[in-house]
């Protein structure tokens, strides 16, 4: 049993109500039509490209292609983390921390899932490795981006407090302890919320996809459970690691707060 395939004509038809909406938005002068339509075109082009590439990668299954695709995802995730920062560490440290966090947490969790849980042979099979990595990396990226941004923004705003704490003889680690904790909490909030409401308020996209393509709902649900645990793990370890690295970078060897290392 397979999914009922949609033709390209169906896709055009599915976009028709959206163009009506865009026309309505324009008539109401909401200033949304243009960006919405550009977004819709981007969705089409980007997904079409990914589809073509994935088709090629699946047909010519080889570790080199899986690794290359993973590296592109890692680069895109890093860029997205960097784009979401209000303040950057000078000299490329933000990029470095993002790569390290995404790679360490995202890739470890994915490889664990492929080897220990899914058990597909070979373990790098693109059909499993790429979608799993995509979901885990996407959520790890959100966690890292939120954690880093909260940390650097709060350190900037609370400079006087941090320095007063240092002046009272606290170590750098003690002086930013509350900010560090808050950053990890903020980073984990979306994923913890989705753990709590998953299946009640919304049906996760991956599970819906599997059900649509004819999988047994219980098999789809088990996959979704695994995914939820993996993405929470990735986001958690990724944000912990990057928040820790960033908070160290905020201070120098003499435990002085060095906000001069941050640029807008």
């Amino acid at each position: 049993m397979g999914v009922i395939a949609l033709s390209w004509a169906d896709i055009l038809l599915s976009a028709l109500p959206l163009t009506v909406l865009a026309a309505l938005f324009a008539w109401l002068r909401l200033g949304l039509s243009r960006t919405m339509l550009i977004g819709a075109v981007r969705t089409f082009v980007q997904l079409a490209m990914v589809g073509v590439v994935l088709k090629g990668v699946f047909q010519n299954a080889h570790p080199v292609w899986t690794v290359s695709f993973s590296m592109v995802m890692l680069a895109a995730g890093t860029w997205e983390v960097s784009r979401r920062q209000h303040r950057h560490f000078a000299a490329g440290w933000t990029i470095g921390f993002a790569v390290l966090g995404l790679f360490t947490a995202g890739f470890t969790v994915t490889v664990f899932a492929l080897l220990a849980l899914v058990g597909v042979k070979p373990w790098w099979s693109p059909q499993y490795a790429i979608p799993l990595l995509g979901m885990i990396l996407g959520n790890t990226m959100t966690g890292i981006a939120l954690g880093m941004d909260t940390l650097t923004q709060n350190a900037w705003k609370q400079r006087a407090v941090i320095e007063n704490r240092l002046a009272l003889g606290q170590t750098a680690s003690e002086a930013v302890e509350e900010i560090r904790r808050e950053s990890v909490r903020i980073a984990m909030t979306p994923i913890i919320n989705s753990l709590a409401i998953c299946g009640v308020v919304s049906l996760p996209g991956m599970m819906t996809g599997q059900i649509l393509s004819g999988s047994d709902p219980l098999a789809a649900v088990r996959y979704q459970m695994m995914i939820m645990y993996l993405i929470a793990t990735g986001a958690g370890f990724g944000s912990l690691l990057t928040v820790q690295l960033c908070s160290r970078r905020l201070f120098d060897g003499r435990e002085r707060l060095r906000l001069d290392r941050l640029a807008e």
Binding site: A160, R165, A167, G169, T171, A172, E178, R254, L257
Partner: protein, 203 residues
């Protein structure tokens, strides 16, 4: 005997500054706004990068951990910061009851919420907190009595002076020449960009 020694100290484009202090000494630093007085105190507490030599009782600042140095050479900023809800949570050592009384603070002030404090109370509690938590050898005071009336200012000054009688050293940064006259034994006047001159008289 020299207890605190600063030699050819340069910090953030200011200096060089050199001076020495004996145990119990109180010195004043004055000068126009922007001449680097606050930055000098921050550098002495190792809160800002600096070059040169700073020694306390013979030991260089780099020879101990920064947090240990800052406990001994304690910077008291002009606006004290309070980050917990309750005043008492900011004290790692309980303050001396006589000090509290001398500063005219209510005996139950430690159980107050921070939101209840006036700026004058924050300033006096800032001194109390640094004396209790740091037990400093050198106290670096940055415009410490800006929010206090004459009576509270005198009480503040005499508490610091009493501590200095027991061997603590104090560096007062202030614009008020009368205060320098009252609380310091000698001092320095800074002119533009941290050029450093021994002041004979504060008047």
């Amino acid at each position: 005997m020299i207890a605190f020694e600063v030699k050819m100290l340069k910090y953030g484009g200011y200096g060089p500054v050199s001076f020495t202090m004996r145990a119990g000494e109180r010195i004043g630093v004055t000068g126009p706004s922007g001449c680097g007085k606050t930055r000098l105190l921050r550098a002495l507490a190792d809160l800002d990068p600096w070059q040169g030599e700073i020694r306390l009782e013979g030991y260089g600042a780099e020879s101990v951990r920064a947090s240990t140095w800052r406990k001994r050479v304690a910077y008291l900023p002009s606006e004290s910061q309070w980050w917990f809800d309750c005043v008492g949570s900011h004290f790692t050592n309980s303050p001396d009851a006589d000090d509290m009384h001398a500063l005219g603070l209510a005996s139950d002030v430690l159980s107050w919420p921070v939101s209840r404090l006036s700026s004058g109370e924050k300033q006096r509690l800032g001194l109390l907190r640094t004396l209790a938590n740091n037990r400093p050898a050198v106290l670096l005071l940055d415009e410490p009595t800006a929010h206090l009336d004459a009576e509270r200012t005198r009480a503040y000054e005499s508490l610091v002076t009493r501590r200095c009688a027991d061997g603590m050293m104090a560096v007062w940064v202030t614009h008020d020449p009368e205060q320098l006259q009252r609380v310091t034994t000698r001092g320095y006047r800074m002119v533009a960009q941290g050029v450093w001159k021994e002041a004979v008289s504060w008047a």
